[in-house]
Structure formats: structure tokens, C-alpha cells
């Protein structure tokens, strides 16, 4: 079971969160076309590595968190609010 250090609520059990998938999958622009949306919705790497992912703290602050977790060990390396995470990304990747 994961224990996630929510920046707003402290160390909380996984059961309070909802997993929302790969945080590096960026929604294409509305006119991006079927292929781009198909890739965004369905195509995921399944790597044994560090993985950036979204977790929504539904049972707490309801903030969306960007979490860096290792898919093999489940170690969590960083957690930050989605607002902070997205503002740190290059504009093209938002």
C-alpha cells in the first residue's frame, strides 16, 4: 500500500486518492486529430522506471498531485501540486 505525502494534508494512505494515470500524457489541442487523441487516450509505456503520474486526493484536499513513483519499488521521489507542476513545464507541454 502506498502512503503519499500530500503537500496540503501530510502523509496519507493510498485509499484516500484516485489514480489518474500518466502525468506526461498531454491532451492534444482540440484540432489535433484522431491519431493524436488515440495516442493520448490509449497508448502508454509500461516501463520499469520512474514514472510521473497524477493522483487526485479525493478523500482530502481534492487537489490533483503530480507524483514521481518508481514502478518497480513504488518508491515516491517527489510530490507536488498540479498547479506547481504544470507551471514548471514548458508552455508547449501544458
Amino acid at each position: 500500500m502506498l502512503r503519499i505525502p500530500c503537500p496540503w494534508c501530510g502523509l496519507r494512505d493510498e485509499i484516500e486518492f484516485r489514480y489518474r494515470g500518466d502525468a506526461t500524457a498531454i491532451r492534444p489541442a482540440g484540432d489535433g486529430g484522431v491519431d493524436a487523441f488515440f495516442s493520448y487516450v490509449y497508448e502508454r509505456d509500461n516501463r520499469r522506471d520512474w514514472h510521473l503520474e497524477w493522483w487526485l486526493h479525493t478523500g482530502g484536499c481534492r487537489r490533483l498531485l503530480e507524483i514521481e513513483r518508481h514502478t518497480l519499488t513504488h518508491e515516491i521521489r517527489s510530490v507536488r501540486d498540479s498547479a506547481e507542476a504544470l507551471s514548471a513545464r514548458p508552455a508547449a507541454a501544458r
Binding site: R27, G30, D31, G33, V34, F38, L64
Partner: protein, 984 residues
């Protein structure tokens, strides 16, 4: 006297308190403090079960939870509980037990024929043999095999109340697993730092290996007394840590002692979910068996078990024991039994020489060095053994009534492995030791390959200091340390172990006694390509079962390594998963059984509904009134629904999800979330909306009202309210973080009622102040704030029933006052409450969809919502909803239907086929009901090319009910397609 017997009072039993028990109907007597196993041995019982596959006679092998063979049924007040370990089952007055897997009796077991057929029953036998015909597996082979194999049997479902259980949560800085020399020493150090420590041990008494060595009594008692005075250290005897889940979460099962059990209504186990910053594995090592022919004969035991039975229970496991071993540690049993006056038949030591053997010879014990056991004599119990020099040569016979073996000690690595620890081969102990990441914790003592008690205590202290330093806690008693060190009784000097896994001779040599896996089975697996240790495990079942192969796991790996010509370090052990010990399901369920299985959500008006005679139905977690009648059947439902169509009804729709959306970008956000447009919605109006998933399928529907320029109220279906909120939260934060919008879940803030029927306006007008409700001033889809019976609330002119209808919302605390006011006002009009069943009848007639149609597989086009999809602007699901496949004409489309014969009935789930073709299913019925405004039954269905088939006839068929009804396909809008009623 032959066989084992009680000789002296062990420290663990109270010889002044005798306890009566029975085994296979035979009444016997033991002492308070005995386990079933020690009491059986004290009564001379050797044969305790039949093996899993070959039905070979089996006895007690260990003195603890590693036991592979002595599994029994316990016959209790509530039925039979199988697979209880005799070696950990505390004896109590009246305990009734039976042996397992024998027919008709333990001594005469007809299925022992399997043993004679063993050469035809190798690993994988069932897979290879019972192949064809296919039907025979289920009907013939499997029942036969299940009768013949397996261990215990369940003969009753134990009622939930019979096994009360609970789960509790513990928080600690450090979890110390195991309270032997290492664990106690570690807890002592950690306790001095003020860190919060949990010290768990599976045994009912703390002490581990020190309990079997009198030289350690003083130290143990002093440490335990000190820990008892240390508030930050919590001691949990009888608590087995059975799973390690990462992030510092561990599961443990605590077996309650009799006094606590009685205080908790007979509860026996408690699940402890432990969260700890660091773990210290001090859970010792498992003594290994040696694979030699006949190593499963009753009377062949682990040497360490003999020591435990002697010192703890005062039971000598034999009158003339022989030993077969390869390490100095096991000689402790030789010395102890000899010192207790037992005449040792001899020691077979596979090593050419050792310090321990010299000491044994000094005591007058015969030691055959450099030798191995090749044969065991006796059928139901050991009568003697045949040994020979390891290099070969003549076999010598030795008379003995038990054979105590020890192949060395394997550190207990299962929990560390669950945390991802790598295993490192350690030649000096011929075993694997865990390499735990220091961020997670430490392993210490025998769990890290340190065999002696003093070495273990020393290692435990060192590990504790590392953890204390990591957690920034100084060890305050630095000065006392040296004294404590000096107190430790020294470990004897020892000659190292020399690995010995198997003696290859004629006869079955078992590597897994519980699953009847022989060394030859392991070689067969290797020959047949199951070379990886994980494949070998699954092919042979080696290492499965309640004991998880703790005594023979490494032996099996060693046999595999030899067969493959590879180093054992490379072959490794199969990876253990939680649970490492059997865990009763009742303990996992804890208190969450029966009506506490899941929480219940009650409506604000629950008490009113109940007093009105409602039957409730769980919808999600909500309890909703199904119908205001206690008896079943359609009659009361149709009366309620009919009253809505004729006069007026009122129903509680408070369970609808309600999301308050506010902010400068609220309209833009809703345009993005919904497939239709909300930015054009005027203030004071509501609009029906559908939202899609990004893959283009329908997610949910509902009405959204505009309460102000920057203020909307979204309603969702009851079932999807949490999912829709999550969907909106996610996209607001991840996809459109630039929008200035705040979402608030107000589902439980508002109670909401629908007043529906031709006379609804009369009722609502009598209660709602100020607002002009005439059709022109307050048209269909109008929304207004109003006072309802004096309570500030909202009025929506929306309809799910297809009638003129209003929905009235008031704060939940005012629900009853508003509801009662509406009922009073409606009396002259004949108002009646209606439940979920009537609501469903009304919506089916009208052709409105719910979860049965919004089932995750339907697109907007399928349900006839194509025209709702906006042309301009991006929204979730827009692009992928446009994929050709989602608009294909042969998709299942929503239609209505009714039986051609007005007396015919419909059934949900019935398949629709073309009667003339008798072909494949064209679709299925999703919802059906007897109609109130129409004749007979009506239903909704998802039908291939459904819209093209309107007006045609199909067969609704349910072969399992043998029902075949000719139906006419209709437009889903079966009632009032022009919407005159709702607009009246």
C-alpha cells in the same frame, strides 16, 4: 516404555493443571501450556496425518509455525476448521481434533495405494494424464482427484457472528519483527532513545532462541522487565507479521490469549495494520530438512524441534534418538537429550570432523563422521536407519525410535523479499541473507545469518543503533552498553556448516513434505523445461501451502541447481508473496461483515419514508425508497405510477449528485466538460446535458441550471456522482488549469423532491411563494430561487417522468418541513409519494435513459443524442466520438419495444433475434416495466440498426427461462413524443 513421553516439567507447561483433549476420538491428557503437538507426543502419538498426494503416514516435524505435516481439523461448536497447525495450537480443555486426508482411518488408509503407484504419479501427472475428453475433467477427474488429494475439509460455512474479529491500526517509529536475542537487544537500544517501538513475536512468550537456553534466562528476564517499564516500547506476543507492503505498511495477525479472547466475545484473531518508519527483521532462521529416502517417516523431525519439546514442554520425542546433521548448532539437541538421560543411538554427521562432534564423543556419544543416512526402517514410525560413509561403501544399521535431522538454518527472508530485498548467498552459513535497503530498515541476528545467540544480540544492538541514528535519535545509554555486552553468555566456538542437501539413494526423498514433492520431481521439472525456480515451483507445487516451504525451500532450489549444473546462488529461491503465514479470512474481514460490510447513506427523509411503509433498496451506498408498500409485486408500483399520470405524485430525488460550479470561466469550463453548450444558457434556465469520456463514449447525463452569470448547478446521476466530480476535478486541474472555476460538491447539502403529474402546478403553487408558475412565466426548463413552505430553496421545472413536473430543492435540514408542506398542499389533488420502481416505470414509458443504457459501451449516437453534440469548439470526447466505428450504422441503438401480444411480458437481459432467421443476437432488452399510460408491458432495448428496425417485429428470447416473446420495435419515445405533457 517405547516412544516419546513426558520426562521432566518443561518451563512452558504447568504440570499441576491437566487439560483433557481428544484426537481422532481418543481421549488424552496434556498440561496447560502444551500445544496439541507436544501433548500428542507426550501421549506417544507419532502418526498424525496422511500426506497430500501419496497418503504416506506423517508425523510431527517441527515445534512451531514451520510445520509441514501436523495439520489437523479442529471440531468446534460452529463446525470444522481444517488445516490447524498442531505445533502452534494451544491446548485447551475439551479441544477436539481429527487427523486429515485419510479414509477410513489414519492407520488404515485405502488411498495409500497412491504411494505404490507413485512412479506413475510424478509431478505434472494430472496435467499430462487427464487430458481427454475435455468434458471428463470437470465431471470425472477433478471430483475424484479432489476427493483423493487435498488436506482438510470444510463441512460448514461458519456463521459470521461465530468468529468476531477486528482490525486495528498501529503507528510506530520502528517495527521489530521477532523478539529473540536480536529483537530483544534491539528493542532495548531503541527503547532508550525514546523512539516508539513495536516488538512483535509470533510466539506467546518473548525470547525466541533464548527460551531454549537456560544460560540466557537472566538476561532475557532483565531485558523483558526493562522493556515492560519503557512506555515507548509496545510488546506484542502472539503476533505474526505476515505481510510487508512497502511504504512502511505491514500486516500482522495477533492471536488473542484466552483471557483477552473471553473479554472480546470469543474473538480469536486481530488484524493489526502497522505503519512504521523503519523495520528491523529479527525473525530468526528456519531449520532445514535434508532430502534422504524416508525423510518423511513419522519420527523423523528437525533437531531443533526436539530441543524445544524437551526444554519447553518436558517431552522427549524419543527414547533412543539418532541424529543426522551437518552443523554444530544442531548438536545442542544431542547434548540436551543426553543430559536429560535419554540414550542417544548415534549421530551421523556429514562432515569429516567438527568441534561439536568432539564434544559429543567426550560425552560418550557415538558420532559417525563423514557419513549420511541412506534409509529409514519402519512403516508407521521410525524403527531404525541405515547409514554409510559419504564416499560410499557398506551400509550400517542403527536402531533408533526417532531421527532428528538438521541441514542448517536458512535466514527468514520472506518479509524482506516482499520489500524487494535482494538475496545474497552466504557460503559460511550455506544460505541466503537479505540485503535490505537501509531506507526501509535492517535485518539482524539469525535473520542475517548470525547463528549464535550472543552474536545475534550483538547484531541486534548494532542494527538498532543504525536505525536510531537514521531517525536522529541518540542512544543515551552509551556507558551501559559495554556492561550489557559483558553480560551476554558467550557463544560456543563452532565448526562451520558444510552444505548437504540430498542423499541420492533408492526411495523417495522429500524436499517438500506438505505437498509431497520429492527431489526426483524437481529433477523431472528441470528435464521437462521448467528450469526457472519459479516455473519449477508451479510445476511441482514445491514451496506452496501453509508452510511456504520454509523447511525445504532452499533444499529444492539446491536440487534444481545441481540438476541444471548451476550455482545455487544463481538459481535462488522462489519469490514469496504475502501472506507468509496462513491468515484467517475472518481476521481480514474484521468488523466489516453483515450490515457493517459497507456504510449506508440515509436520506434526510429516511425516517419519514420508513414510517410511510417504504421498502428500501440500496443504490450505491444510498438506501432509497423502492415502493411505499411492504409486499412485493407490481400492484403498488403501478398504483403509485398511475397516480402520477392521472393526478400528482412526489418522490425523493435527493440522491442525485449536485455540483456547484462558480467562477468567471464556469461557462467555458462546462462547454469543455459537456458535449453540448452551456455558455448560451440564459440565467434562470436549465438544460439537459451529456458528457463524454475522452474515448468518445457517454459518461453521464443530467440537467445543469444557470443560477447566475458565473454560477451553475450541475446534477449527475446518483450512481455516477463521485465519478463525475472526480472527472471534472481532474480536467479542471490537469487539462484546463487556466480556468478560474471552483467546484463544490453540494450533493448532501440539498434535499430535492420531484412533484410530477397533471396537477403538479396546483400543489407547487400552493407552497412556493411569490413566483408566478404559469406556463408562460415559468416555462419548461425554467429555474428560480423561491421560498418553499417558507424555506429558502430552488424550483426547477424539469421532468424525468414525462409529466408536468417541478423539482424543489431545500437545504437538507429543512427537508421534512418542505416535504410535509407539499404533501399537505397536495392532499386535495390526491398527491401520493412514489418510489424508485414507479419512477423507473414512468421514465421507461417516456424513453429516458439511466445506468442500464448509459452503461459505458454506448455513444451519443447510440442513444439518439447525436444532435446534442456541439459543432464548434473543443470538448472532452469530441475527436474520438467522431471515429467512424462509433457512428457505424450496425451499432446497437436505443429503441422502445412492446410484446405483440398485449398479455405478453418482457424481461431485462432478454436477447433480440430475428425470428425468421434464428440467427445471432441483434441486441438485448435493457429496461422493462408494465406500463401505466400504455397497454401491457413496454421496454427499452439496445438493438443493432435499431432505428431502421422501428415498426418491425423480432423475437425476445431467453433460452434459460424458456421464454420467447414476439415484440414490436418502437421509437424509444413511446409516450407523448411531442412533449406536450411536460410543457403544459
Amino acid at each position: 516404555m517405547r516412544g516419546p513421553a513426558r520426562i521432566v516439567g518443561g518451563w512452558g507447561v504447568d504440570a499441576t493443571r491437566s487439560v483433557q483433549f481428544s484426537f481422532d476420538g481418543r481421549r488424552m491428557q496434556g498440561f496447560s501450556g502444551d500445544t496439541l503437538a507436544s501433548a500428542l507426543l507426550a501421549n506417544g502419538v507419532r502418526l498424525v496425518g496422511r500426506s497430500f498426494k501419496y497418503h504416506r503416514p506423517r508425523g510431527i516435524v517441527t515445534a512451531g509455525p514451520d510445520e509441514p505435516c501436523a495439520l489437523v481439523d479442529v471440531i468446534g461448536a460452529h463446525g470444522r476448521e481444517p488445516n490447524q497447525l498442531a505445533t502452534t495450537l494451544a491446548l485447551f480443555q475439551g479441544l477436539a481434533t481429527e487427523s486429515q486426508n485419510r479414509r477410513p482411518s489414519l492407520r488404515v488408509d485405502v488411498l495409500a495405494i497412491n504411494n505404490l503407484m507413485a512412479r506413475f504419479l510424478p509431478a505434472g501427472f494430472y496435467y499430462k494424464t487427464f487430458m481427454a475428453p475435455g468434458w471428463a475433467w470437470e465431471r470425472v477427474y477433478e471430483p475424484l482427484i479432489r476427493r483423493a488429494a487435498g488436506l482438510g475439509r470444510l463441512d460448514a460455512i461458519v456463521p459470521a457472528h461465530a468468529t468476531p474479529a477486528e482490525s486495528v491500526h498501529d503507528h510506530a517509529d520502528v517495527l521489530v519483527v521477532g523478539a529473540g536475542a536480536a529483537g530483544l537487544a534491539a528493542a532495548q537500544v531503541l527503547g532508550a532513545t525514546g523512539l516508539r517501538v513495536l516488538l512483535a513475536d509470533q510466539d506467546t512468550v518473548l525470547g525466541g532462541g533464548t527460551l531454549l537456553d537456560a544460560r540466557w534466562t537472566r538476561w532475557r528476564e532483565s531485558v523483558c522487565a526493562q522493556l515492560a517499564r519503557t512506555a515507548a516500547v509496545r510488546r506484542l506476543p502472539g503476533t505474526t507479521v505476515s505481510g510487508a507492503y512497502g511504504h512502511g505498511v505491514y500486516a500482522a495477525i495477533q492471536t488473542l490469549d484466552p483471557a483477552e479472547s473471553a473479554a472480546f466475545g470469543g474473538m480469536r484473531e486481530r488484524l493489526r495494520v502497522i505503519r512504521a518508519r523503519r523495520v528491523l527483521f529479527a525473525n530468526g532462521a528456519h531449520e532445514r530438512l535434508i532430502a534422504f529416502p524416508g525423510n518423511d517417516r513419522p519420527g523423523v523431525m528437525l533437531a531443533g524441534a526436539a530441543l524445544a519439546y524437551l526444554r519447553r514442554y518436558g517431552v522427549a520425542v524419543g527414547r533412543r534418538p539418532a541424529f543426522f546433521l551437518n552443523n554444530d548448532e544442531a548438536y545442542e539437541s544431542v547434548y540436551a537429550l543426553t543430559a536429560a538421560g535419554i540414550c542417544c543411538a548415534g549421530v551421523i554427521d556429514s562432515r569429516p570432523r567438527s568441534l561439536a562432534a568432539d564434544r559429543a564423543r567426550d560425552m560418550g556419544i557415538e558420532v559417525h563422521a563423514g557419513a549420511v543416512v541412506e534409509k529409514v526402517y519402519g512403516r508407521h514410525e521410525v524403527r531404525g536407519l541405515g547409514w554409510a560413509a559419504r564416499a560410499g561403501g557398506q551400509r550400517h544399521k542403527l536402531e533408533a525410535d526417532c531421527l532428528l535431522m538438521s541441514g542448517g538454518y536458512s535466514p527468514a527472508t520472506a518479509l524482506a523479499s516482499q520489500l524487494g530485498a535482494a538475496l545474497r548467498w552466504e557460503e559460511s552459513i550455506a544460505g541466503f541473507v537479505p540485503e535490505l535497503s537501509p531506507d526501509l530498515g535492517q535485518a539482524a541476528g539469525a535473520a542475517r545469518g548470525h547463528c549464535g545467540l550472543a552474536a545475534a544480540a550483538h547484531d541486534g544492538r548494532a542494527a538498532a543503533r543504525v536505525i536510531a541514528a537514521q531517525l536522529d535519535c541518540a542512544v543515551r545509554v552509551a556507558g551501559a552498553d559495554a556492561d550489557a555486552e559483558a553480560e551476554l553468555p558467550p557463544d560456543p566456538e563452532a565448526t562451520p556448516i558444510s552444505a548437504l542437501w540430498e542423499v541420492r539413494c533408492r526411495g523417495k526423498a522429500f524436499v517438500d513434505l506438505q505437498n509431497d514433492v520429492t527431489a526426483e520431481d524437481v529433477r523431472l521439472a528441470s528435464r521437462e523445461g521448467y528450469e526457472h525456480v519459479e516455473h519449477m515451483k508451479r510445476y511441482t507445487t514445491h514451496g506452496m501451502g501453509t508452510d511456504q516451504g520454509r523447511s525445504g525451500g532452499l533444499v529444492g532450489s539446491a536440487v534444481l541447481a545441481e540438476a541444471r549444473g548451476m550455482p545455487l546462488a544463481t538459481v535462488g529461491l522462489s519469490r514469496p508473496r504475502p501472506y507468509s503465514q496462513p491468515v484467517p479470512l475472518a481476521a481480514l474481514a474484521g468488523g466489516e461483515t453483515g450490515q457493517h460490510f459497507k456504510p449506508k447513506r440515509r436520506l434526510p427523509l429516511h425516517d419519514w419514508h420508513e414510517s410511510a411503509g417504504a421498502t428500501f433498496v440500496p443504490v450505491g451506498l444510498w438506501l432509497r425508497p423502492l415502493v411505499y408498500a411492504r409486499q412485493g409485486g407490481w400492484e403498488p408500483v403501478l398504483a403509485e405510477a398511475g397516480n402520477v399520470r392521472r393526478a400528482v405524485g412526489i418522490t425523493d430525488v435527493s440522491t442525485l449528485g449536485k455540483i456547484d460550479v462558480q467562477g468567471p470561466d464556469a461557462a467555458r469550463f462546462l462547454d469543455f466538460i459537456y458535449a453540448n453548450t452551456f455558455s448560451t444558457l440564459p440565467v434562470g434556465r436549465a438544460r439537459y446535458g451529456i458528457m463524454l469520456r475522452e474515448d468518445g463514449m457517454l459518461l453521464d447525463d443530467g440537467t445543469t441550471s444557470r443560477l447566475g452569470p458565473q454560477h451553475f448547478l450541475v446534477t449527475t446521476t446518483t450512481a455516477n456522482s463521485a465519478a463525475v466530480l472526480e472527472h471534472m476535478e481532474f480536467h479542471l486541474q490537469a487539462t484546463c488549469p487556466q480556468f478560474d472555476v471552483v467546484l463544490t460538491d453540494v450533493s448532501e447539502h440539498w434535499a430535492q423532491f420531484a412533484v410530477a403529474g397533471p396537477r403538479a402546478r396546483e400543489v407547487v403553487a400552493a407552497v412556493v411563494s411569490a413566483a408566478d408558475l404559469c406556463a408562460d412565466a415559468f416555462p419548461f426548463m425554467a429555474v428560480a430561487e423561491a421560498r418553499i413552505g417558507g424555506i429558502a430553496g430552488r424550483v426547477f421545472r424539469i421532468s424525468f417522468s414525462g409529466e408536468l413536473a417541478y423539482e424543489l430543492a431545500v437545504p437538507a435540514r429543512a427537508a421534512r418541513a418542505a416535504w410535509v408542506a407539499l404533501l399537505e398542499a397536495g392532499k386535495p389533488c390526491g398527491i401520493r409519494p412514489y418510489g424508485l420502481d414507479a419512477l423507473n416505470t414512468l421514465r421507461i414509458e417516456k424513453g429516458h435513459v439511466t445506468g442500464a443504457e448509459l452503461n459505458g459501451n454506448t455513444s451519443a449516437g447510440d442513444l439518439g443524442f447525436q444532435r446534442l453534440l456541439k459543432r464548434n469548439g473543443d470538448f472532452i470526447g469530441r475527436t474520438l466520438a467522431g471515429r467512424p466505428g462509433l457512428a457505424a450504422p450496425d451499432r446497437l441503438q436505443l429503441v422502445g419495444l412492446r410484446p405483440v401480444d398485449p398479455a405478453g411480458r418482457l424481461r431485462n437481459g432478454t436477447q433480440l433475434i430475428d425470428a425468421s432467421e434464428r440467427g445471432a443476437s441483434l441486441g438485448y432488452v435493457t429496461s422493462s416495466t408494465p406500463a401505466v399510460a400504455l397497454d401491457g408491458w413496454v421496454g427499452l432495448a439496445l438493438l443493432a440498426r435499431g432505428r431502421q428496425r422501428i415498426g418491425t417485429r423480432l423475437l425476445a428470447t431467453s433460452p434459460i427461462h424458456d421464454e420467447h416473446t414476439e415484440v414490436e420495435i418502437l421509437s424509444p419515445h413511446m409516450l407523448d413524443p411531442e412533449n406536450q405533457r411536460v410543457r403544459s
